[in-house]
């Protein structure tokens, strides 16, 4: 029991690493004032509390950290799990496992931005309302942003739909074109199984005026091992304007979607055996489906 408890304390190595990272970030951001209230001190404190869970509970592995250069990106990921924990884990990965550490500004739903306490905390820890003007502002200031083009549909899946990508919206790609910012594809494996049995009542969600209302057997996420894959950057075609037709935009967005799909298949094949009873049927089902359909 003692050992289990100790594993959820911040290790000395991690504490030293976080101190170094934030010393570097404080230097980097010393002249930047954020209009959403991004607060490095609060981020540092919060990170020190979460990292033991990142290490020992979700046992996060990061692949492809070497693909991240010191520049602005629109980091594009699949959205899994019933709570946006994948966003938190990706953000931590870009702080701890990427050199130099990068702050990712995650886009949040309009619904979240208006919640008392949560909206303010999310803003202080770097999240911003998913809005094109906001993204453009951050990219102009050299920031990288994290988008989930599946939107809330990505995290409001019933169990049989786990790891099925919802079609990507195109707004993020128009911003990428406008600001000539490359896309960095990211794939998260393992977050779906944090809540293995889920039912979504769309009717109830509508009634309560919330974007999604997952009904799960467990309120606390289960310790599903998480793998984060960072792909190679997808450059923005020089000839394409951000006011290009939907057809031209969609072709490029499909390419990004397929890249993440391929990363998903690879990740599901190589994941760690932890939740075998849940993992195997889902993995088999998803891989079979991808093979049958083939890439679009």
């Amino acid at each position: 029991m003692l050992k289990l408890g100790e594993s959820f304390l911040l290790s000395i190595e991690d504490e030293i690493k976080i101190n170094q990272i934030f010393a570097e970030l404080k230097e980097k951001y010393k002249d930047y004032k954020d209009p959403w209230g991004f607060n490095l001190e609060l981020c540092e404190k919060t990170l020190k509390k979460i990292v033991p869970f990142y290490r020992s509970y979700f046992k996060v592995r990061v692949f492809g950290a070497e693909n991240v250069k010191d520049q602005s990106y629109i980091v594009t990921s699949n959205h899994t799990g019933q709570l946006p924990l994948d966003a938190i884990l990706i953000t931590i990965a870009f702080l701890l496992d990427v050199a130099p550490p990068r702050v990712l500004r995650a886009m949040v739903e309009r619904f979240m931005a208006q919640l008392p306490f949560i909206g303010d905390f999310a803003a202080q820890t770097g999240s911003i309302l998913g809005d094109r003007a906001n993204c453009a502002y951050l990219i102009e200031h050299g920031e990288s942003i994290l988008v989930f083009p599946e939107g809330v549909r990505g995290i409001s899946k019933n169990t049989p739909d786990y790891y099925k990508l919802r079609s990507f919206s195109e707004g993020f790609y128009r911003i990428a074109l406008q600001k000539k910012t490359p896309i960095l594809p990211v794939c998260v494996i393992g977050a779906e199984e944090m809540f293995p049995f889920v039912f979504h009542s769309k009717r109830l969600a509508r009634l309560l005026k919330v974007p999604a209302l997952p009904l799960t057997a467990n309120l606390f996420p289960l310790p599903s091992p998480i793998d984060i894959y960072i792909g190679k950057e997808i450059p923005i075609p020089a000839h394409l304007e951000h006011e290009a037709s939907d057809k031209e935009i969609k072709e490029n967005v499909f390419h990004i979607e397929n890249t993440i799909k391929r990363m998903l298949i690879h990740g599901l094949k190589h994941r760690r055996p932890f939740f075998d009873t849940v993992r195997k049927p889902i993995s088999k089902f998803v891989i079979k489906e991808f093979r049958n359909k083939g890439d679009r």
């Binding site: 004032k33 209009p35 208006q114 008392p116 306490f117 202080q124 309302l129 809005d131 003007a133 502002y137």
Partner: protein, 318 residues
């Protein structure tokens, strides 16, 4: 040297209008200002070439005024503020702010006025949770989505901008949408909120604000005469500050309060005839930051004398 001008300044009983008048007459002592207000004008400072007139805002009075004087410039700073949401007051506000403004603009057109400067407000955008960062002048005016009682503010702004483009070839019109104006001579809700001994300090929200000192605002009103071409302009500096930091800066004791309960508290206070307009409560929850790029194009990058911190420091003198 500029040609001698005769100016009509509507709302002369307000601190901002008086500062603007003083600035204009300091720079151009030979110009003449007729300052009118439906409020008492006995406190208006005595200045050479400034004639304060107490006048009921009616069609007849305005027509008489425009017949008697030949104005070159009209400053419209006479919007009725939102002290209550009661229906009869709202109807009065609409009549004065919207219908009254319409009448004044008609008279400007008929009597050959060359320049019209209108003071609107950034409240037309509304404090909404999904506001983008640094709203530009072409952003939709959404304040009445949550608060229909703000209809008059938006309508007045829209009447002015429509009229402005319609008459752009004959009259140069400037519509200004300033952020929160604060100062010792101005009596608006934000200055009162910040400079009181205590203020509600939300624990569940911490929105960002832009403030402009009244002197800077008066200076921009003055510069609008010659430096700003026809158009709508947001007025704010490039800096911003969170509500908690602003309260700390001013030294006002913040009473920690969950804004989720503010609506209920306000309803209870309403029964005691103490009411904060509900739309102002939204500003304690959600940011509404405006872009100053358009103004910067014409006035240069450093068009304000006081930073936000200095502006907040100065209201301590109140």
């Amino acid at each position: 040297m500029s040609q001698k001008k005769k100016i009509l300044l509507i709302g002369i009983a307000g601190g901002l209008a008086q500062m603007t008048a003083r600035l204009i007459l300091t720079e151009h002592p030979d110009w003449e200002i007729i300052g009118i207000d439906s409020r008492d004008v006995s406190n208006v400072p005595v200045l050479n070439n400034l004639t304060p007139i107490n006048l009921k805002y009616s069609r007849g009075n305005f027509e008489n005024l425009f017949r008697t004087h030949h104005f070159d410039v009209v400053y419209h700073l006479g919007r009725i503020s939102h002290s209550s949401n009661e229906h009869n007051v709202l109807a009065k506000r609409i009549d004065l702010s919207v219908m009254g403004t319409n009448r004044i603009l008609e008279l400007c057109e008929r009597s050959g006025v060359k320049k019209v400067v209108i003071l609107s407000t950034f409240h037309v955008y509304g404090a909404l949770p999904d506001n983008s960062i640094f709203l530009k002048e072409d952003a939709p005016l959404r304040a009445s989505i949550r608060h229909p009682e703000l209809r008059d503010v938006i309508e007045m702004d829209q009447i002015c901008t429509n009229w402005m483009w319609k008459n752009q070839n004959s009259i140069s019109t400037v519509v200004l949408r300033p952020c929160n104006i604060i100062g010792t001579q101005i009596q608006n809700a934000m200055t009162k909120f910040l400079s009181g001994p205590v203020a509600l300090s939300p624990i569940d929200y911490n929105p960002f604000f832009q403030f402009i000192h009244e002197f800077d605002m008066a200076h921009i009103l003055y510069r609008a005469l010659e430096s700003l071409p026809t158009g709508t302009y947001n007025v704010a500096g490039s800096d911003f500050i969170s509500l908690r930091d602003a309260l700390n800066e001013v030294g006002t004791k913040g009473i920690p309060f969950p804004m989720v309960l503010a609506g209920g508290l306000n309803s209870a206070l309403k029964k005691l005839n103490i009411e904060v307009p509900e739309y102002l409560l939204d500003y304690l929850k959600f940011s509404c930051l405006i872009s100053n790029k358009e103004l910067e194009k014409h006035l240069g990058p450093k068009f304000l004398r006081f930073s936000i911190k200095e502006a907040l420091e100065l209201i301590k003198l109140r």
